[in-house]
């Protein structure tokens, strides 16, 4: 029986408690703790005492002027750009092809499944697999290059700075372009089909349709992809850590690998690592703020379209689940 005037609002609070408590303990507290450590002299395994430095910003000054940290930052940016530009180009090309109503590319489902596949495979495994694939003097990639006559001598990819960076960037590209493609295709499918029909009737060419209709309407999705990819790129760890351990000559050392090395591989400079983490946190917060503005609620028309699309996908999934 329904009691009159019952107050259900309290359940909003009750049902949010597990999330909030977990967040406070496992996210907020560690972030504050890391910030505090950034201002202390904490180094060495097994210490938990807190002694603030006389110059509280000493760790930050040391990190910001540290040549290796600067190198790590520029490596991270460089490798990210080297992976992001080709990733966007290829993803856009495939999106244009797969959503073109005149081409009607067959076997799209199979292509999507295969192209997306590397994204879900353990990055640690992929790093080691590529280490073996690019082996020197004998390795599958060198064998293939020699068999096709592309090189006369086997190449030592692991020893050259630029080949090492290129391979790391290629791995990132290879793992993520399928993901970006699916995101873009979903964006195109969300555009009202009447727009395309009208353009076709007016005799617009495929490139015209793509640049004049599709691209402008994908602006939000492209921005979203850009920002999330930047935030992800800043955390690049597994591949550079296990592929060449940050080498050769720190050419693939990223900020995350730098932080890990400071704190956990022998030197135990927790305070320096904490300061470096906070610098990264600030950069990521700025990017997140950007994303926040991209994601904030849009005009009602867009919201309705999104809802329709969500319902459509929900229905398909539901149908498949019950099969």
């Amino acid at each position: 029986m329904r009691r009159k005037g019952i107050n259900y609002a309290k359940y909003g609070y009750i049902f949010s408690i597990p999330f909030v408590v977990t967040f406070l303990i496992f996210s907020l507290y560690p972030i504050l703790y890391t910030t505090v450590i950034g201002f202390t002299d904490l180094r060495g395994l097994g210490r938990t005492d807190i002694n603030f430095l006389d110059n509280p910003f000493q760790n930050f000054q040391i990190i910001l002027t540290n040549a290796t940290f600067q190198k790590a930052l520029s490596n991270t940016a460089l490798i990210w750009i080297m992976n992001f530009i080709p990733q966007m180009l290829v993803a856009f090309l495939l999106t244009a092809w797969f959503t073109n109503r005149r081409f009607k590319v067959r076997g799209q489902g199979v292509f999507k499944v295969l192209i997306y596949m590397p994204n879900i495979i353990t990055a640690a495994t992929i790093a080691l697999l590529f280490y073996s694939l690019f082996g020197y003097p004998k390795g599958p990639v060198n064998d293939v290059l020699m068999a096709f006559g592309l090189t006369d001598e086997p190449m030592n990819f692991h020893l050259q700075k630029w080949t090492a960076r290129t391979v790391v960037a290629f791995i990132q590209f290879w793992m993520w372009y399928g993901h970006t493609m699916i995101v873009l295709i979903a964006g195109v499918l969300g555009i009202s089909p009447t727009l395309f029909e009208a353009a076709e009737i007016d005799g617009a060419s495929a490139p015209q349709i793509f640049f004049r209709i599709t691209l402008p309407r994908l602006k939000t999705i492209v921005l979203y992809t850009l920002v999330t990819s930047m935030i992800g790129g800043l955390q690049m760890f597994d591949i550079p850590k296990l592929f060449l351990l940050g080498g050769p000559d720190s050419a693939t050392l990223t900020t995350s690998v730098f932080i890990y090395n400071q704190a956990f591989s022998g030197s135990y400079l927790y305070n320096r690592a904490a300061a470096a983490s906070m610098i990264m946190f600030v950069i990521i917060s700025i990017l997140s703020a950007l994303l926040f503005f991209i994601l904030r609620d849009r005009d009602p028309g867009r919201a309705r379209r999104r809802e329709r699309e969500l319902r459509r996908i929900a229905r398909t999934l539901d149908g498949e689940v019950s099969v």
């Binding site: 329904r2 259900y8 359940y11 909003g12 609070y13 009750i14 049902f15 597990p18 999330f19 977990t22 496992f26 996210s27 560690p30 703790y33 890391t34 505090v36 450590i37 290829v90 092809w97 081409f103 590319v105 076997g107 295969l114 997306y116 879900i120 495979i121 353990t122 990055a123 495994t125 694939l133 082996g135 064998d143 993901h179 699916i182 995101v183 295709i185 979903a186 964006g187 969300g190 939000t220 979203y224 850590k241 296990l242 704190a263 956990f264 927790y270 946190f281 997140s288 994303l291 926040f292 991209i294 994601l295 969500l310 319902r311 996908i313 929900a314 999934l317 539901d318 498949e320 689940v321």
Partner: protein, 282 residues
């Protein structure tokens, strides 16, 4: 003219298929080599590192692999525990939090949602030093709990579940359950969760894969080899003791991703649909 247009369209189509097949082969090639070389001896691999068919050295590679530090069964069990636990916690409590945001009107509802949006992208990595020190001080460094419990607060999943509920849930169902005398908690468990099944399925897959692949936190926290997860087992293959054991290294790599391949080829439809769904949170 019409013939000319048709011919150029056909040649464009040919280019499209060639590029797509080439990209598909690039996706397959590394894994194919990995599975084939897992069955070949070091000598065979040194002779020719590319093979299209398996050889007969699977069991000897296995013996060498497990004879050293790599323990696939321990890694598998630990990764299973972590991934299953984290996934159950994440999907259940994210759904519950999303339900709180959609079904009830409470004073802090909008601020709470804004807060979730704000913390959406904060990675665990930036707080790793404090997290490690915290776990060290409560003696949890060699426990699997710190890899499972934080999943209860997964902002991105709450966001996704909220969008899904907003699009699919009609509050009349909730009201009629109340009239029938159902408690709020009962309504959520018995009526709302089943409605959310499609969303839970896709999010569960991503959560599981994310936990399974996670390297950073386990690498920091776990020093006892009985607690190692699969990605840490993988990192052992980078060590000197496996330096000349090519076949065994390939086998070790293959073992770590075998469960993922099974999951992927059984559920690729949902996974691809899930990525597309995630994109709609624009």
């Amino acid at each position: 003219m019409k013939m000319g247009m048709l011919a150029s369209r056909n040649s464009t189509k040919a280019v499209i298929y060639i590029v797509c097949i080439f990209l598909a082969l690039i996706s397959i090639f590394p894994f194919w080599i990995m599975f084939m070389n897992a069955t070949r001896s070091t000598f065979e691999i040194q002779q020719n590192s590319v093979a299209f068919w398996p050889s007969t050295f699977l069991s000897s590679n296995w013996k060498i692999l497990v004879g050293k530090s790599f323990n696939p069964l321990t890694g598998f069990m630990n990764s299973m525990l972590v991934s299953t636990g984290a996934t159950l916690g994440a999907v259940y409590f994210s759904s519950l939090t999303a339900y709180a945001l959609v079904a009830y009107s409470w004073k802090l509802r909008q601020p709470f949602f804004t807060f979730i949006m704000a913390i959406l992208m904060i990675p665990a990595q930036v707080s790793s030093i404090g997290f490690y020190q915290f776990m060290y001080s409560i003696h949890w460094t060699n426990s699997l709990w710190p890899l499972i419990l934080p999943a209860i607060a997964t902002p991105a999943m709450v966001f996704f579940m909220r969008q899904y509920l907003m699009a699919t849930l009609s509050l009349e169902i909730v009201d009629s359950a109340r009239i029938d005398g159902a408690g709020e908690f009962y309504t959520f468990n018995r009526i709302i969760l089943p409605i959310m099944k499609p969303a839970i399925a896709t999010q569960a897959i991503f959560s599981f894969v994310f936990s399974w692949n996670n390297l950073f936190l386990p690498l920091i926290l776990l020093t006892n080899n009985k607690k190692y997860t699969m990605p840490i087992m993988v990192s052992l293959l980078r060590g000197d003791i496996y330096k000349t054991e090519y076949g065994s290294v390939y086998l070790g790599l293959a073992l770590t991703v075998l469960p993922l391949f099974v999951i992927y080829f059984l559920l690729s439809k949902y996974i691809i649909a899930g990525v597309a769904l995630g994109a709609l949170k624009e």
